[in-house]
């Protein structure tokens, strides 16, 4: 069974190696719109009680036929496409709040998802896992898809510090938005839970004065 996953580029990483400021990579295009988290990782694979291993079943029902044979038409099974950037159609990550979707994408080996529009919960989940949801305009998204179509080996460069994106054979430098705190967390590999734990005293004080009716 395992040998079937020949394109499966799972990377084992620790938290420290997950932080990043710059990425240079080719990209995998998935121009479908409204990709929901049930497609990213179907519910029947949510039974694990750890965060690891979800990459194996990323886009499971698109990657494999029902009889478990690989679907050669699906982009992740196409050897011409690789890299740590996934480019997807608008409204990526809608539906269920399962963070398993972000874990699966990260575990498979992607560090960035580019789309013109992300569902809110997915965006938060991605950011909490050092997976960068990078929003571009619909026009830029089209340009990116075209660039990859013309040359599957087009290299993209993302600079998180500067909040810029550019790619080979294009003189444009695209800037993107990210909340300063979230940027800080990714660049420094900072954990939001540790951050909140450091605020526990202030929260206790708030709680003591807060009435819940």
């Amino acid at each position: 069974m395992r040998s079937q996953w020949k394109n499966y580029r799972r990377k084992k990483r620790n938290r420290d190696s997950m932080k990043f400021t710059q990425i240079k990579s080719t990209a995998v295009p998935l121009p479908m719109e409204d990709i929901d988290t049930d497609q990213i990782i179907p519910a029947r694979f949510l039974k694990s009680t750890s965060r690891e291993g979800f990459g194996e079943n990323l886009f499971r029902d698109w990657r494999y036929h029902t009889e478990n044979t690989q679907n050669p038409d699906f982009i992740l099974n196409n050897e011409n496409f690789s890299g740590s950037i996934l480019v997807a159609g608008k409204n990526f990550g809608c539906g269920s709040s399962r963070e398993h979707a972000a874990w699966a994408i990260k575990d498979y080996g992607f560090d960035v998802v580019i789309s013109s529009f992300f569902a809110d919960i997915f965006k938060n989940n991605a950011l909490n896992n050092q997976l960068l949801p990078l929003t571009v305009s619909p026009y830029v998204l089209d340009q990116i898809f075209n660039a990859i179509e013309e040359n599957t080996q087009t290299s993209f460069e993302i600079n998180l510090e500067e909040q810029t994106l550019k790619w080979q054979n294009s003189s444009d430098i695209i800037t993107f938005e990210i909340d300063p705190f979230k940027k800080h967390c990714i660049i420094n590999g900072m954990d939001t839970i540790d951050f909140l734990i450091s605020k526990r005293d202030a929260i206790k004080t708030f709680e003591n004065e807060h009435v819940v009716y």
Binding site: D38, A119, I193, H210
Partner: protein, 462 residues
């Protein structure tokens, strides 16, 4: 400064601003279930921190539980492990748990209100996107991911940015056979699955005000299906009556003062506002693989010009349907009445009343899965169980069931299922399953006729 209902609740819960977008938001009520919590509890253990406030946390097992023979050990070893792990975690961290076979167990969004835990003006989260359900009580309630579940366990807070705000007004009287489910399917079809992304939605207008609490929960429940962070409805006398009925002996005076302040000021501004008329809403059905792909039950699948993207072509192929096809009279195989959208006592009453003395078609397998043990009991008390069983429905034990097919309740590949749940995504009810979302009333009519049926016609002939 004029404020929206949302502003009033939000501002009361901000502990601290982190930057100009992100805040630390205090959470009044945290609900937990077995699927999205194990990794969060594990995180607490690794960090060696205790639960911040166990009184504000409540857990139940719902997604994985079998709906048949619930007293026996769960057959699937992975499901069993997840449910057992929830028990272990709740014991270790002293969280109140309504586990399998507990008389209070049920779908997390059904039991919260049922237990009187969900109250107006609260902030509520759960590692589940349909947490928006609780907004029916005038709460800021939204779904979170597992890292955020861990945030709340560790600090009773989440880090959030304030969403934009949208108001959707529905005015006028609903036609016979049209229910809350049709209202929300209609709105989602109009706005699209990403139509409210980045926004919190307030539902208002006389149609909304006329709805029962159950019906309001159905509407708020599906807010997420148009991308909204959540939906809410200002509390009124219906809300107060429901909440007070859970604890009739409590002194409500102070609370009522607060509840009565929970409304949007007259000239408060929304980022976006939509107006709909109840008379334009018909019984709805979906034909595609997202909840926005819905039409009036007697309508046709949109034309090629309207539906030409790769995603929608794939959706039609998956559903075995074609452009401009009528959905009415399409033969169906299954009917599922359940899920956190439509599994409350009112839904069961409506279905039972309609099917009383009738029989479902021989080509259909129909199951009714109550939202909780309490709903189950109530149904039995009212004799609904017999009515449903005599009509040929199979009444199951409570849980999420065929809504997401994590337990054995799956729809076989290629089969059509009219479902009262909230998602018709590819494979949602099992690999290859073809889901058509509809109201409980429409689902019941389809079950009786074995095909897609316009319930309005049936009511006329009664």
């Amino acid at each position: 400064m004029t404020k929206t209902l949302f502003d009033k609740i939000w501002e009361r819960h901000v502990v601290e601003n982190i930057d100009d977008k992100q805040v630390i938001l205090y959470i009044d009520q945290h609900y937990i279930h077995e699927v999205t919590s194990p990794q969060a509890f594990d995180g607490l253990r690794k960090r060696k921190v205790k639960l911040f406030n166990k009184a504000r946390t409540l857990a139940t097992a719902d997604h994985n539980v079998p709906t048949k023979d619930q007293h026996l050990p769960i057959k699937d070893p992975l499901s069993r492990k997840q449910v057992e792990m929830l028990s272990t975690n709740c014991r270790e961290f002293e969280v109140e748990l309504f586990g399998l076979n507990d008389p209070n167990q049920g779908i997390v969004h059904v039991i919260g209100p049922e237990q009187g835990k969900t109250r107006p003006g609260m902030t509520i989260v759960c590692g589940d996107s349909h947490t928006s359900t609780h907004g029916a009580f005038g709460c800021i309630a939204f779904g979170i991911g597992t890292s955020e579940v861990e945030q709340v366990l560790a600090s009773q807070c989440v880090i959030q940015s304030k969403p934009k705000q949208m108001r959707i007004n529905v005015e006028g009287e609903l036609s016979p056979g049209v229910t809350a489910k049709d209202i929300i399917l209609y709105i989602i079809a109009k706005l699209g699955v990403g139509g409210a992304t980045g926004h919190f939605v307030e539902y208002a207008g006389e149609t909304i005000e006329s709805l029962s609490m159950e019906a309001r929960m159905t509407i708020c429940n599906m807010s997420i299906e148009m991308g909204a962070r959540g939906g809410l409805i200002a509390p009124d006398k219906h809300t107060l009556a429901y909440v007070k009925s859970k604890f009739p002996n409590e002194n409500w005076e102070e609370s009522e003062k607060y509840y009565n302040s929970l409304f949007t000021d007259d000239d408060a501004r929304f980022d976006v506002e939509y107006n709909f008329m109840a008379k334009d809403i018909a019984p709805m059905i979906t034909y595609g693989t997202n909840p926005g792909m819905g039409i009036k039950i007697d309508g046709t699948v949109p034309t090629k010009e309207k539906l030409s993207s790769a995603s929608s072509m794939q959706a039609l192929e998956y559903m075995g349907l074609v452009h401009e096809q009528k959905i009415i009279d399409l033969p169906i195989d299954y009917v599922f009445i359940g899920s956190c959208t439509n599994s409350r006592i009112e839904d069961l009453r409506q279905v039972a009343k309609y099917v009383q003395g009738k029989k479902i078609a021989s080509n259909v397998k129909a199951i009714v899965v109550p939202g909780s043990h309490k709903v189950s009991e109530q149904a039995k008390e009212e004799g609904l169980d017999l009515i449903l069983e005599n009509a040929g429905f199979e009444l199951r034990g409570p849980g999420c069931s065929a809504c997401l097919g994590m337990n054995e309740d799956k729809i076989p590949s290629g089969k059509y299922c009219v479902s009262t749940s909230n998602r018709n995504f590819e494979g949602r009810q099992g690999p290859g399953a073809r889901t058509l979302l509809a109201s409980p009333l429409t689902a019941a009519a389809c079950a009786l006729n074995g095909k897609i049926t316009d319930v309005r016609k049936e009511i006329e002939t009664v």
